[in-house]
Protein backbone atom coordinates (compact mmCIF):
# COMPACT_ATOMS: atom_id res chain seq x y z
CA UNK A 1 0.00 0.00 0.00
CA UNK A 2 2.92 2.30 0.70
CA UNK A 3 4.13 1.66 -2.82
CA UNK A 4 0.71 2.54 -4.22
CA UNK A 5 0.70 5.73 -2.20
CA UNK A 6 4.07 6.80 -3.49
CA UNK A 7 3.12 6.14 -7.09
CA UNK A 8 0.63 8.99 -7.01
CA UNK A 9 1.87 12.16 -8.62
CA UNK A 10 0.73 14.50 -5.91
CA UNK A 11 2.59 12.77 -3.12
CA UNK A 12 5.79 14.51 -4.12
CA UNK A 13 4.20 17.91 -3.80
CA UNK A 14 3.07 16.99 -0.30
CA UNK A 15 6.55 15.76 0.51
CA UNK A 16 7.99 19.00 -0.71
CA UNK A 17 5.44 20.91 1.35
CA UNK A 18 6.37 18.90 4.39
CA UNK A 19 10.06 19.57 3.98
CA UNK A 20 9.47 23.27 3.51
CA UNK A 21 7.29 23.28 6.61
CA UNK A 22 10.10 21.73 8.62
CA UNK A 23 12.60 24.29 7.38
CA UNK A 24 10.34 27.20 8.17
CA UNK A 25 9.22 25.99 11.58
CA UNK A 26 12.83 25.35 12.48
CA UNK A 27 13.70 28.99 12.02
CA UNK A 28 11.10 29.65 14.66
CA UNK A 29 10.23 33.16 13.72
CA UNK A 30 6.58 32.36 13.35
CA UNK A 31 4.55 31.37 16.42
CA UNK A 32 5.80 27.81 16.52
CA UNK A 33 4.75 24.92 14.34
CA UNK A 34 1.03 25.09 15.09
CA UNK A 35 0.81 28.73 14.21
CA UNK A 36 2.51 28.09 10.92
CA UNK A 37 0.21 25.19 10.15
CA UNK A 38 -2.89 27.26 10.85
CA UNK A 39 -1.58 30.09 8.71
CA UNK A 40 -0.69 27.65 5.96
CA UNK A 41 -4.14 26.09 5.97
CA UNK A 42 -5.87 29.45 6.05
CA UNK A 43 -4.07 31.04 3.17
CA UNK A 44 -3.88 27.86 1.16
CA UNK A 45 -7.64 27.56 1.38
CA UNK A 46 -8.12 30.58 -0.85
CA UNK A 47 -5.52 29.35 -3.30
CA UNK A 48 -7.18 25.96 -3.39
CA UNK A 49 -10.59 27.30 -4.33
CA UNK A 50 -9.34 29.46 -7.21
CA UNK A 51 -6.82 26.78 -8.10
CA UNK A 52 -9.61 24.26 -8.55
CA UNK A 53 -11.40 26.60 -10.90
CA UNK A 54 -8.26 27.25 -12.90
CA UNK A 55 -7.58 23.51 -12.98
CA UNK A 56 -10.94 22.90 -14.61
CA UNK A 57 -10.18 25.44 -17.31
CA UNK A 58 -6.65 24.17 -17.91
CA UNK A 59 -8.02 20.65 -18.23
CA UNK A 60 -10.00 21.88 -21.22
CA UNK A 61 -6.89 21.65 -23.28
CA UNK A 62 -3.93 23.68 -24.52
CA UNK A 63 -4.62 27.38 -24.85
CA UNK A 64 -7.23 27.44 -22.10
CA UNK A 65 -6.36 29.62 -19.14
CA UNK A 66 -8.54 32.02 -17.19
CA UNK A 67 -6.62 35.23 -16.62
CA UNK A 68 -9.66 37.05 -15.26
CA UNK A 69 -9.74 35.25 -11.91
CA UNK A 70 -8.19 38.11 -9.90
CA UNK A 71 -10.53 40.66 -11.43
CA UNK A 72 -13.58 38.47 -10.87
CA UNK A 73 -12.53 37.95 -7.26
CA UNK A 74 -12.18 41.69 -6.75
CA UNK A 75 -15.47 42.50 -8.40
CA UNK A 76 -17.37 39.84 -6.48
CA UNK A 77 -15.82 40.82 -3.18
CA UNK A 78 -16.44 44.52 -3.71
CA UNK A 79 -20.02 44.29 -4.87
CA UNK A 80 -21.17 41.66 -2.39
CA UNK A 81 -19.78 43.61 0.51
CA UNK A 82 -21.50 46.70 -0.77
CA UNK A 83 -24.83 44.89 -0.94
CA UNK A 84 -24.50 43.52 2.54
CA UNK A 85 -23.47 46.89 3.91
CA UNK A 86 -22.10 45.33 7.05
CA UNK A 87 -25.60 44.46 8.26
CA UNK A 88 -26.18 41.47 10.47
CA UNK A 89 -28.45 38.56 9.77
CA UNK A 90 -28.35 35.24 7.98
CA UNK A 91 -30.50 36.45 5.09
CA UNK A 92 -28.11 39.31 4.46
CA UNK A 93 -25.18 36.95 4.41
CA UNK A 94 -27.02 34.69 2.01
CA UNK A 95 -27.78 37.55 -0.36
CA UNK A 96 -24.16 38.58 -0.25
CA UNK A 97 -23.05 35.10 -1.14
CA UNK A 98 -25.56 34.87 -3.95
CA UNK A 99 -24.43 38.22 -5.33
CA UNK A 100 -20.83 37.03 -5.35
CA UNK A 101 -21.75 33.78 -7.06
CA UNK A 102 -23.95 35.63 -9.50
CA UNK A 103 -21.08 37.88 -10.48
CA UNK A 104 -18.95 34.83 -11.01
CA UNK A 105 -21.66 33.31 -13.18
CA UNK A 106 -21.94 36.48 -15.22
CA UNK A 107 -18.20 36.77 -15.65
CA UNK A 108 -17.95 33.16 -16.77
CA UNK A 109 -20.72 33.59 -19.31
CA UNK A 110 -19.15 36.80 -20.58
CA UNK A 111 -15.76 35.12 -20.90
CA UNK A 112 -17.16 32.21 -22.86
CA UNK A 113 -19.21 34.49 -25.06
CA UNK A 114 -16.02 36.32 -26.04
CA UNK A 115 -14.30 33.03 -26.71
CA UNK A 116 -17.09 31.39 -28.65
CA UNK A 117 -19.01 34.15 -30.36
CA UNK A 118 -16.14 36.52 -31.10
CA UNK A 119 -13.67 33.67 -31.57
CA UNK A 120 -11.08 35.29 -29.36
CA UNK A 121 -8.36 33.00 -27.97
CA UNK A 122 -9.11 32.32 -24.28
CA UNK A 123 -5.97 34.05 -23.04
CA UNK A 124 -6.81 37.27 -24.83
CA UNK A 125 -10.50 37.07 -24.01
CA UNK A 126 -9.94 36.62 -20.29
CA UNK A 127 -7.16 39.20 -20.29
CA UNK A 128 -9.39 41.79 -21.89
CA UNK A 129 -12.39 40.95 -19.74
CA UNK A 130 -10.26 41.13 -16.60
CA UNK A 131 -9.66 44.80 -17.32
CA UNK A 132 -13.36 45.41 -17.69
CA UNK A 133 -14.24 43.60 -14.46
CA UNK A 134 -11.55 45.50 -12.61
CA UNK A 135 -12.91 48.79 -13.84
CA UNK A 136 -16.37 47.73 -12.76
CA UNK A 137 -14.99 46.99 -9.31
CA UNK A 138 -13.22 50.34 -9.09
CA UNK A 139 -16.29 52.16 -10.25
CA UNK A 140 -18.60 50.45 -7.77
CA UNK A 141 -16.20 50.80 -4.89
CA UNK A 142 -15.76 54.56 -4.93
CA UNK A 143 -13.02 54.36 -2.37
CA UNK A 144 -15.24 53.70 0.60
CA UNK A 145 -14.06 50.79 2.62
CA UNK A 146 -17.07 48.74 3.56
CA UNK A 147 -16.68 46.23 6.30
CA UNK A 148 -18.15 42.76 6.08
CA UNK A 149 -20.90 41.71 8.50
CA UNK A 150 -19.38 40.66 11.78
CA UNK A 151 -20.78 37.17 11.66
CA UNK A 152 -19.20 36.50 8.30
CA UNK A 153 -15.96 38.04 9.39
CA UNK A 154 -15.88 35.82 12.44
CA UNK A 155 -16.61 32.78 10.32
CA UNK A 156 -13.86 33.59 7.87
CA UNK A 157 -11.27 34.12 10.58
CA UNK A 158 -12.51 31.48 12.96
CA UNK A 159 -11.73 27.84 13.43
CA UNK A 160 -13.66 24.67 14.08
CA UNK A 161 -11.95 21.77 15.76
CA UNK A 162 -8.71 23.69 15.49
CA UNK A 163 -8.84 23.89 11.72
CA UNK A 164 -9.67 27.22 10.05
CA UNK A 165 -13.23 27.39 8.72
CA UNK A 166 -12.11 28.48 5.29
CA UNK A 167 -9.92 25.40 5.12
CA UNK A 168 -12.92 23.19 5.87
CA UNK A 169 -14.82 24.96 3.16
CA UNK A 170 -12.00 24.52 0.70
CA UNK A 171 -11.83 20.86 1.62
CA UNK A 172 -15.53 20.38 0.96
CA UNK A 173 -15.24 22.13 -2.40
CA UNK A 174 -12.23 20.01 -3.26
CA UNK A 175 -14.18 16.86 -2.51
CA UNK A 176 -17.07 18.06 -4.66
CA UNK A 177 -14.64 18.88 -7.45
CA UNK A 178 -13.11 15.45 -7.17
CA UNK A 179 -16.52 13.82 -7.42
CA UNK A 180 -17.43 15.94 -10.43
CA UNK A 181 -14.21 15.05 -12.19
CA UNK A 182 -14.05 11.38 -11.39
CA UNK A 183 -17.61 10.23 -11.00
CA UNK A 184 -19.79 12.55 -13.01
CA UNK A 185 -20.40 12.48 -16.74
CA UNK A 186 -19.25 16.09 -16.85
CA UNK A 187 -15.80 15.08 -15.64
CA UNK A 188 -15.52 12.46 -18.35
CA UNK A 189 -16.60 14.87 -21.02
CA UNK A 190 -14.15 17.46 -19.69
CA UNK A 191 -11.22 15.09 -19.73
CA UNK A 192 -12.10 13.87 -23.21
CA UNK A 193 -12.37 17.42 -24.54
CA UNK A 194 -9.04 18.30 -23.01
CA UNK A 195 -7.20 15.32 -24.45
CA UNK A 196 -8.52 15.64 -27.98
CA UNK A 197 -11.27 18.08 -28.82
CA UNK A 198 -11.87 16.68 -32.27
CA UNK A 199 -12.05 13.08 -31.11
CA UNK A 200 -14.39 14.11 -28.31
CA UNK A 201 -16.73 15.81 -30.74
CA UNK A 202 -16.62 12.78 -32.99
CA UNK A 203 -17.47 10.59 -30.01
CA UNK A 204 -20.57 12.60 -29.32
CA UNK A 205 -19.31 14.79 -26.46
CA UNK A 206 -21.16 18.14 -26.41
CA UNK A 207 -17.92 20.08 -26.44
CA UNK A 208 -19.36 23.58 -26.43
CA UNK A 209 -21.57 22.83 -23.45
CA UNK A 210 -18.60 21.40 -21.60
CA UNK A 211 -16.49 24.47 -22.31
CA UNK A 212 -19.21 26.87 -21.31
CA UNK A 213 -19.89 25.09 -18.02
CA UNK A 214 -16.20 25.00 -17.22
CA UNK A 215 -15.59 28.69 -17.71
CA UNK A 216 -18.67 29.51 -15.66
CA UNK A 217 -17.54 27.14 -12.93
CA UNK A 218 -14.09 28.72 -12.76
CA UNK A 219 -15.46 32.24 -12.57
CA UNK A 220 -18.01 31.14 -10.00
CA UNK A 221 -15.30 29.75 -7.76
CA UNK A 222 -13.36 32.95 -8.22
CA UNK A 223 -16.42 34.89 -7.12
CA UNK A 224 -16.77 32.73 -4.04
CA UNK A 225 -13.12 33.23 -3.17
CA UNK A 226 -13.46 36.96 -3.55
CA UNK A 227 -16.39 36.90 -1.17
CA UNK A 228 -14.52 34.82 1.42
CA UNK A 229 -11.32 36.78 1.12
CA UNK A 230 -13.14 40.07 1.60
CA UNK A 231 -14.78 38.76 4.72
CA UNK A 232 -11.47 37.47 5.96
CA UNK A 233 -9.53 40.66 5.29
CA UNK A 234 -12.19 42.95 6.69
CA UNK A 235 -12.87 44.63 3.39
CA UNK A 236 -12.37 44.39 -0.36
CA UNK A 237 -9.14 45.99 -1.50
CA UNK A 238 -8.78 46.64 -5.20
CA UNK A 239 -5.57 44.69 -5.48
CA UNK A 240 -6.80 41.73 -3.47
CA UNK A 241 -6.62 39.40 -6.41
CA UNK A 242 -3.34 40.24 -8.07
CA UNK A 243 -1.18 37.50 -6.61
CA UNK A 244 -3.87 34.88 -7.14
CA UNK A 245 -3.29 34.77 -10.87
CA UNK A 246 0.14 33.28 -10.57
CA UNK A 247 -0.96 31.24 -7.58
CA UNK A 248 -3.93 29.68 -9.36
CA UNK A 249 -1.77 28.53 -12.24
CA UNK A 250 1.15 27.52 -10.06
CA UNK A 251 -0.89 25.24 -7.83
CA UNK A 252 -2.31 23.52 -10.88
CA UNK A 253 1.12 22.93 -12.38
CA UNK A 254 2.85 21.98 -9.14
CA UNK A 255 -0.02 19.72 -8.18
CA UNK A 256 0.55 17.56 -11.22
CA UNK A 257 -2.36 18.37 -13.49
CA UNK A 258 -1.36 18.12 -17.09
CA UNK A 259 -0.78 21.53 -18.62
CA UNK A 260 -1.70 20.10 -22.00
CA UNK A 261 -5.18 19.27 -20.79
CA UNK A 262 -7.11 16.12 -20.03
CA UNK A 263 -5.67 15.22 -16.67
CA UNK A 264 -6.63 16.95 -13.45
CA UNK A 265 -5.31 16.28 -9.99
CA UNK A 266 -7.40 17.47 -7.06
CA UNK A 267 -5.23 16.41 -4.10
CA UNK A 268 -2.36 17.98 -5.97
CA UNK A 269 -4.07 21.36 -5.74
CA UNK A 270 -3.95 21.16 -1.95
CA UNK A 271 -0.36 20.01 -2.05
CA UNK A 272 0.58 22.78 -4.44
CA UNK A 273 -1.20 25.42 -2.39
CA UNK A 274 0.48 24.37 0.85
CA UNK A 275 3.85 24.11 -0.82
CA UNK A 276 3.55 27.54 -2.37
CA UNK A 277 2.52 29.19 0.89
CA UNK A 278 5.29 27.51 2.80
CA UNK A 279 7.90 28.49 0.22
CA UNK A 280 6.79 32.07 0.58
CA UNK A 281 6.93 31.84 4.37
CA UNK A 282 10.32 30.29 4.27
CA UNK A 283 11.65 32.97 2.00
CA UNK A 284 10.12 35.63 4.20
CA UNK A 285 11.65 34.04 7.27
CA UNK A 286 15.04 34.16 5.64
CA UNK A 287 14.45 37.82 5.02
CA UNK A 288 14.26 37.45 1.27
CA UNK A 289 11.82 39.83 -0.24
CA UNK A 290 8.93 39.62 -2.63
CA UNK A 291 11.29 39.72 -5.56
CA UNK A 292 12.90 36.39 -4.76
CA UNK A 293 9.52 34.86 -4.13
CA UNK A 294 8.22 35.87 -7.54
CA UNK A 295 11.40 34.77 -9.22
CA UNK A 296 11.36 31.38 -7.59
CA UNK A 297 7.72 30.71 -8.29
CA UNK A 298 8.19 31.57 -11.95
CA UNK A 299 11.23 29.33 -12.23
CA UNK A 300 9.45 26.47 -10.49
CA UNK A 301 6.51 26.66 -12.88
CA UNK A 302 8.68 26.66 -15.97
CA UNK A 303 10.84 23.87 -14.60
CA UNK A 304 7.85 21.66 -13.85
CA UNK A 305 6.23 22.29 -17.19
CA UNK A 306 9.48 21.61 -19.01
CA UNK A 307 10.22 18.52 -16.97
CA UNK A 308 6.81 17.08 -17.70
CA UNK A 309 7.21 17.44 -21.44
CA UNK A 310 8.79 15.25 -24.04
CA UNK A 311 11.12 16.21 -26.90
CA UNK A 312 9.31 17.01 -30.11
CA UNK A 313 10.43 15.58 -33.38
CA UNK A 314 11.34 18.56 -35.50
Amino acid sequence: MIAALFSRAWIWAFVAAGITFAFTAAIGQTAGGTGLLVAALTFSAFSVIVGLGQMFVITLGPGNVDLSIPATMTLAGTVSLKYMGGAAGADVALVGLLVALGIGLGAGIANFALIKLLRIPPIIATLASSFVYLSLAIWSNRGIRIKPPEALSDFAIGRSLGVPNVAWLALVIAVLAWVALNRAAYGRNLSATGQNLRAARLAGVPVDAVRAITYVLCAGLAGLTGFLLSCFSGGAALNMGTEYLLTSIAVVVIGGSSIGGGRSNVPGIWAGALFLFLIVSMLNSYGLGAGVRLLMTGVIIIAIVAAGSRPQRS
Binding site: V305, R310, Q312
Partner: protein, 311 residues
Protein backbone atom coordinates in the same frame (compact mmCIF):
# COMPACT_ATOMS: atom_id res chain seq x y z
CA UNK B 1 -7.53 41.46 -47.38
CA UNK B 2 -4.86 42.95 -49.58
CA UNK B 3 -2.09 44.58 -47.56
CA UNK B 4 -3.07 48.02 -48.77
CA UNK B 5 -6.54 47.59 -47.35
CA UNK B 6 -5.25 46.14 -44.10
CA UNK B 7 -3.22 49.21 -43.31
CA UNK B 8 -6.17 51.45 -44.07
CA UNK B 9 -8.01 50.47 -40.92
CA UNK B 10 -5.37 51.50 -38.38
CA UNK B 11 -4.48 54.63 -40.36
CA UNK B 12 -8.12 55.68 -40.45
CA UNK B 13 -8.64 55.02 -36.76
CA UNK B 14 -5.56 57.04 -35.88
CA UNK B 15 -6.63 59.90 -38.11
CA UNK B 16 -10.15 59.88 -36.72
CA UNK B 17 -8.94 59.81 -33.14
CA UNK B 18 -6.42 62.54 -33.79
CA UNK B 19 -9.13 64.64 -35.36
CA UNK B 20 -11.35 64.09 -32.36
CA UNK B 21 -8.57 65.12 -29.98
CA UNK B 22 -7.88 68.29 -31.96
CA UNK B 23 -11.54 69.19 -31.88
CA UNK B 24 -11.77 68.75 -28.13
CA UNK B 25 -8.45 70.31 -27.31
CA UNK B 26 -7.29 72.65 -30.08
CA UNK B 27 -4.19 73.50 -28.11
CA UNK B 28 -2.75 70.08 -28.85
CA UNK B 29 -2.41 71.04 -32.50
CA UNK B 30 1.09 72.30 -31.95
CA UNK B 31 4.62 71.00 -31.79
CA UNK B 32 4.53 70.83 -28.02
CA UNK B 33 1.03 69.50 -27.97
CA UNK B 34 1.79 66.65 -30.33
CA UNK B 35 4.88 65.82 -28.37
CA UNK B 36 2.88 65.56 -25.17
CA UNK B 37 0.17 63.50 -26.83
CA UNK B 38 2.53 60.94 -28.28
CA UNK B 39 5.29 61.16 -25.74
CA UNK B 40 4.89 57.77 -24.22
CA UNK B 41 4.04 56.21 -27.56
CA UNK B 42 7.65 55.39 -28.35
CA UNK B 43 8.25 52.78 -25.64
CA UNK B 44 4.76 51.38 -26.27
CA UNK B 45 5.49 51.14 -29.98
CA UNK B 46 8.71 49.27 -29.33
CA UNK B 47 6.98 46.88 -26.94
CA UNK B 48 4.28 46.35 -29.55
CA UNK B 49 6.87 45.40 -32.12
CA UNK B 50 8.37 42.97 -29.61
CA UNK B 51 4.96 41.38 -29.13
CA UNK B 52 4.36 41.38 -32.85
CA UNK B 53 7.42 39.26 -33.46
CA UNK B 54 6.22 36.66 -30.98
CA UNK B 55 2.71 36.70 -32.44
CA UNK B 56 4.33 36.33 -35.85
CA UNK B 57 5.52 32.86 -34.84
CA UNK B 58 2.13 31.86 -33.49
CA UNK B 59 2.81 32.46 -29.80
CA UNK B 60 1.76 35.17 -27.35
CA UNK B 61 4.16 36.76 -24.90
CA UNK B 62 2.49 37.45 -21.58
CA UNK B 63 5.72 38.72 -20.08
CA UNK B 64 6.20 41.81 -22.24
CA UNK B 65 5.03 44.14 -19.49
CA UNK B 66 7.26 42.75 -16.77
CA UNK B 67 10.23 42.36 -19.12
CA UNK B 68 10.08 45.99 -20.12
CA UNK B 69 9.80 46.94 -16.44
CA UNK B 70 12.82 44.80 -15.69
CA UNK B 71 14.82 46.46 -18.45
CA UNK B 72 13.76 49.85 -17.18
CA UNK B 73 15.03 48.96 -13.71
CA UNK B 74 18.33 47.72 -15.09
CA UNK B 75 18.72 50.81 -17.24
CA UNK B 76 17.99 53.18 -14.37
CA UNK B 77 20.48 51.48 -12.09
CA UNK B 78 23.19 49.32 -13.59
CA UNK B 79 23.31 50.87 -17.00
CA UNK B 80 23.59 54.23 -15.39
CA UNK B 81 26.13 53.44 -12.70
CA UNK B 82 28.10 50.59 -14.23
CA UNK B 83 27.36 50.58 -17.96
CA UNK B 84 29.36 47.49 -18.82
CA UNK B 85 27.63 45.35 -16.26
CA UNK B 86 24.29 46.80 -17.26
CA UNK B 87 24.94 45.98 -20.88
CA UNK B 88 26.00 42.47 -19.91
CA UNK B 89 22.78 41.94 -17.98
CA UNK B 90 20.74 43.09 -20.93
CA UNK B 91 22.68 40.87 -23.29
CA UNK B 92 22.12 37.93 -20.95
CA UNK B 93 18.40 38.60 -21.00
CA UNK B 94 18.39 38.38 -24.80
CA UNK B 95 20.10 35.01 -24.48
CA UNK B 96 17.50 33.98 -21.91
CA UNK B 97 14.73 34.83 -24.33
CA UNK B 98 16.47 32.88 -27.08
CA UNK B 99 16.76 29.92 -24.74
CA UNK B 100 13.06 30.13 -23.98
CA UNK B 101 12.20 30.08 -27.64
CA UNK B 102 14.40 27.05 -28.18
CA UNK B 103 12.88 25.28 -25.19
CA UNK B 104 9.34 25.97 -26.32
CA UNK B 105 10.07 24.60 -29.79
CA UNK B 106 12.13 21.64 -28.67
CA UNK B 107 9.69 20.39 -26.05
CA UNK B 108 6.45 21.61 -27.53
CA UNK B 109 5.67 23.67 -24.42
CA UNK B 110 2.66 25.98 -24.34
CA UNK B 111 4.03 29.48 -24.71
CA UNK B 112 1.27 30.92 -22.52
CA UNK B 113 2.37 29.12 -19.43
CA UNK B 114 6.06 29.58 -20.10
CA UNK B 115 5.76 33.31 -20.73
CA UNK B 116 3.45 33.67 -17.77
CA UNK B 117 6.03 31.97 -15.60
CA UNK B 118 8.75 34.15 -17.10
CA UNK B 119 6.69 37.24 -16.38
CA UNK B 120 7.08 36.49 -12.71
CA UNK B 121 10.76 35.82 -13.11
CA UNK B 122 11.23 39.25 -14.67
CA UNK B 123 8.93 40.79 -12.06
CA UNK B 124 10.94 39.23 -9.29
CA UNK B 125 14.23 40.35 -10.76
CA UNK B 126 12.89 43.86 -11.23
CA UNK B 127 11.81 43.97 -7.59
CA UNK B 128 15.19 42.75 -6.48
CA UNK B 129 16.91 45.51 -8.43
CA UNK B 130 14.52 48.27 -7.45
CA UNK B 131 12.39 47.40 -4.42
CA UNK B 132 11.06 50.94 -4.50
CA UNK B 133 10.95 53.49 -7.28
CA UNK B 134 14.25 55.15 -7.95
CA UNK B 135 17.27 55.09 -10.13
CA UNK B 136 18.12 57.65 -12.74
CA UNK B 137 18.29 57.77 -16.47
CA UNK B 138 21.70 57.69 -18.15
CA UNK B 139 22.49 61.09 -19.53
CA UNK B 140 22.77 60.12 -23.16
CA UNK B 141 19.41 58.38 -23.04
CA UNK B 142 17.74 61.37 -21.52
CA UNK B 143 19.30 63.59 -24.12
CA UNK B 144 18.09 61.32 -26.92
CA UNK B 145 14.51 61.13 -25.74
CA UNK B 146 14.15 64.85 -25.04
CA UNK B 147 15.73 65.98 -28.27
CA UNK B 148 13.79 68.54 -30.24
CA UNK B 149 14.11 67.82 -33.95
CA UNK B 150 13.07 70.74 -36.17
CA UNK B 151 9.97 69.74 -38.10
CA UNK B 152 8.18 67.17 -36.02
CA UNK B 153 8.39 66.28 -32.35
CA UNK B 154 10.72 63.55 -31.18
CA UNK B 155 7.90 61.11 -30.56
CA UNK B 156 6.70 61.32 -34.15
CA UNK B 157 10.17 61.15 -35.63
CA UNK B 158 11.05 58.17 -33.48
CA UNK B 159 7.82 56.39 -34.35
CA UNK B 160 8.37 56.88 -38.05
CA UNK B 161 11.92 55.59 -37.71
CA UNK B 162 10.79 52.55 -35.77
CA UNK B 163 8.06 51.76 -38.25
CA UNK B 164 10.41 52.14 -41.18
CA UNK B 165 13.26 50.12 -39.76
CA UNK B 166 11.11 47.26 -38.54
CA UNK B 167 9.31 47.18 -41.84
CA UNK B 168 12.63 46.75 -43.60
CA UNK B 169 13.73 44.15 -41.11
CA UNK B 170 10.60 42.04 -40.94
CA UNK B 171 8.94 42.50 -44.29
CA UNK B 172 11.79 43.14 -46.69
CA UNK B 173 14.85 41.33 -45.45
CA UNK B 174 15.39 37.68 -46.27
CA UNK B 175 15.76 36.76 -42.61
CA UNK B 176 12.51 38.43 -41.64
CA UNK B 177 10.80 36.68 -44.51
CA UNK B 178 11.96 33.29 -43.32
CA UNK B 179 10.66 34.07 -39.82
CA UNK B 180 7.31 35.03 -41.24
CA UNK B 181 7.26 31.88 -43.31
CA UNK B 182 7.97 29.96 -40.11
CA UNK B 183 4.82 31.42 -38.66
CA UNK B 184 2.88 30.72 -41.82
CA UNK B 185 3.72 27.06 -42.43
CA UNK B 186 6.18 25.40 -40.09
CA UNK B 187 6.12 22.08 -41.90
CA UNK B 188 7.22 23.55 -45.17
CA UNK B 189 10.24 25.09 -43.55
CA UNK B 190 11.15 21.87 -41.79
CA UNK B 191 10.94 20.07 -45.11
CA UNK B 192 13.15 22.64 -46.76
CA UNK B 193 15.80 21.88 -44.18
CA UNK B 194 15.49 24.84 -41.82
CA UNK B 195 16.14 24.28 -38.11
CA UNK B 196 12.88 25.13 -36.38
CA UNK B 197 14.54 25.41 -32.99
CA UNK B 198 16.99 27.98 -34.29
CA UNK B 199 14.22 29.93 -35.97
CA UNK B 200 12.06 30.19 -32.88
CA UNK B 201 15.07 31.06 -30.74
CA UNK B 202 15.98 33.83 -33.20
CA UNK B 203 12.48 35.21 -33.17
CA UNK B 204 12.40 35.33 -29.39
CA UNK B 205 15.84 36.91 -29.24
CA UNK B 206 14.80 39.60 -31.72
CA UNK B 207 11.71 40.28 -29.67
CA UNK B 208 13.87 40.70 -26.59
CA UNK B 209 15.99 43.30 -28.38
CA UNK B 210 12.90 45.39 -29.02
CA UNK B 211 11.79 44.86 -25.46
CA UNK B 212 15.11 46.23 -24.31
CA UNK B 213 14.78 49.27 -26.54
CA UNK B 214 11.32 49.81 -25.11
CA UNK B 215 12.54 49.72 -21.53
CA UNK B 216 15.44 52.00 -22.26
CA UNK B 217 13.37 54.61 -24.04
CA UNK B 218 10.84 54.46 -21.23
CA UNK B 219 13.53 55.36 -18.70
CA UNK B 220 14.78 58.10 -20.96
CA UNK B 221 11.32 59.64 -20.84
CA UNK B 222 10.33 59.10 -17.26
CA UNK B 223 13.86 59.59 -15.87
CA UNK B 224 13.34 57.08 -13.07
CA UNK B 225 11.99 53.57 -12.90
CA UNK B 226 10.11 51.16 -10.72
CA UNK B 227 9.27 47.49 -10.94
CA UNK B 228 5.69 48.09 -12.07
CA UNK B 229 6.31 50.82 -14.56
CA UNK B 230 5.28 48.95 -17.67
CA UNK B 231 2.89 46.25 -16.51
CA UNK B 232 0.10 47.52 -18.73
CA UNK B 233 2.31 47.06 -21.79
CA UNK B 234 1.28 43.41 -22.07
CA UNK B 235 -2.31 44.12 -22.99
CA UNK B 236 -1.41 47.29 -24.85
CA UNK B 237 1.11 45.50 -27.03
CA UNK B 238 -1.34 42.74 -27.93
CA UNK B 239 -4.02 45.30 -28.71
CA UNK B 240 -1.59 47.30 -30.80
CA UNK B 241 -0.63 44.33 -32.95
CA UNK B 242 -4.26 43.40 -33.54
CA UNK B 243 -5.32 46.96 -34.18
CA UNK B 244 -2.54 47.21 -36.73
CA UNK B 245 -3.96 44.36 -38.73
CA UNK B 246 -2.06 41.44 -37.25
CA UNK B 247 -3.53 38.00 -36.67
CA UNK B 248 -2.86 35.57 -33.86
CA UNK B 249 -1.86 32.73 -36.14
CA UNK B 250 -0.52 32.37 -39.62
CA UNK B 251 2.35 34.80 -39.45
CA UNK B 252 0.23 37.65 -40.79
CA UNK B 253 1.40 40.84 -39.17
CA UNK B 254 2.30 44.35 -40.15
CA UNK B 255 5.11 46.32 -38.47
CA UNK B 256 3.86 49.66 -39.73
CA UNK B 257 0.36 48.73 -38.63
CA UNK B 258 1.64 47.69 -35.22
CA UNK B 259 3.36 51.03 -34.69
CA UNK B 260 0.26 52.89 -35.83
CA UNK B 261 -1.80 50.70 -33.53
CA UNK B 262 0.48 51.58 -30.63
CA UNK B 263 0.20 55.28 -31.44
CA UNK B 264 -3.57 54.99 -31.57
CA UNK B 265 -3.71 53.31 -28.20
CA UNK B 266 -1.39 55.85 -26.64
CA UNK B 267 -3.58 58.56 -28.09
CA UNK B 268 -6.70 56.83 -26.83
CA UNK B 269 -5.36 57.17 -23.33
CA UNK B 270 -5.03 60.92 -23.72
CA UNK B 271 -8.37 61.14 -25.49
CA UNK B 272 -10.15 59.37 -22.69
CA UNK B 273 -8.81 61.79 -20.14
CA UNK B 274 -9.72 64.76 -22.36
CA UNK B 275 -13.33 63.69 -22.49
CA UNK B 276 -13.10 63.38 -18.75
CA UNK B 277 -13.76 59.70 -18.66
CA UNK B 278 -13.79 58.69 -15.06
CA UNK B 279 -10.38 57.34 -14.11
CA UNK B 280 -12.25 54.30 -12.84
CA UNK B 281 -12.78 53.33 -16.44
CA UNK B 282 -9.33 54.01 -17.81
CA UNK B 283 -8.32 50.43 -17.22
CA UNK B 284 -11.53 48.90 -18.48
CA UNK B 285 -11.37 51.04 -21.60
CA UNK B 286 -8.27 49.20 -22.76
CA UNK B 287 -10.02 45.88 -22.47
CA UNK B 288 -13.10 47.20 -24.24
CA UNK B 289 -11.03 48.63 -27.07
CA UNK B 290 -9.35 45.29 -27.65
CA UNK B 291 -12.69 43.49 -27.67
CA UNK B 292 -14.20 45.99 -30.10
CA UNK B 293 -11.24 45.73 -32.43
CA UNK B 294 -11.42 41.94 -32.45
CA UNK B 295 -15.17 41.98 -32.98
CA UNK B 296 -14.83 44.40 -35.88
CA UNK B 297 -12.16 42.26 -37.47
CA UNK B 298 -14.29 39.16 -37.13
CA UNK B 299 -17.22 40.87 -38.83
CA UNK B 300 -15.01 42.05 -41.68
CA UNK B 301 -13.41 38.66 -42.22
CA UNK B 302 -16.78 36.90 -42.18
CA UNK B 303 -18.11 39.36 -44.73
CA UNK B 304 -15.06 38.87 -46.89
CA UNK B 305 -15.34 35.08 -46.69
CA UNK B 306 -19.00 35.22 -47.63
CA UNK B 307 -18.15 37.44 -50.53
CA UNK B 308 -15.43 35.10 -51.72
CA UNK B 309 -17.72 32.10 -51.47
CA UNK B 310 -20.48 33.86 -53.34
CA UNK B 311 -18.09 35.09 -56.02
Amino acid sequence: MRPNLRILLPVLSLALLLGAVFVIQPRTMSYLGLNLLFNLAVPIALATVAQMIIIMVNDIDLSVGTFVSFVACVTATWLNDAPLIGAAILAASVLAYAGLGALIQARGLPAIVVTLGMSFVWAGLALMILPSPGGASPGWLRWLMTAKPPVAPMAIVASVLIAGLTHLLIMRSSFGTVLRGFGGNERTLARAGWSLIRLRASAYALSAVFGILSGMTLVGLSTAADANIALRYTLLSIAGVILGGGEFTGGRISPVGAVIGALTLALAGSFLSFIRLSPDWQIGAQGIILIIVLAARLLLSVRRRNRDVAA
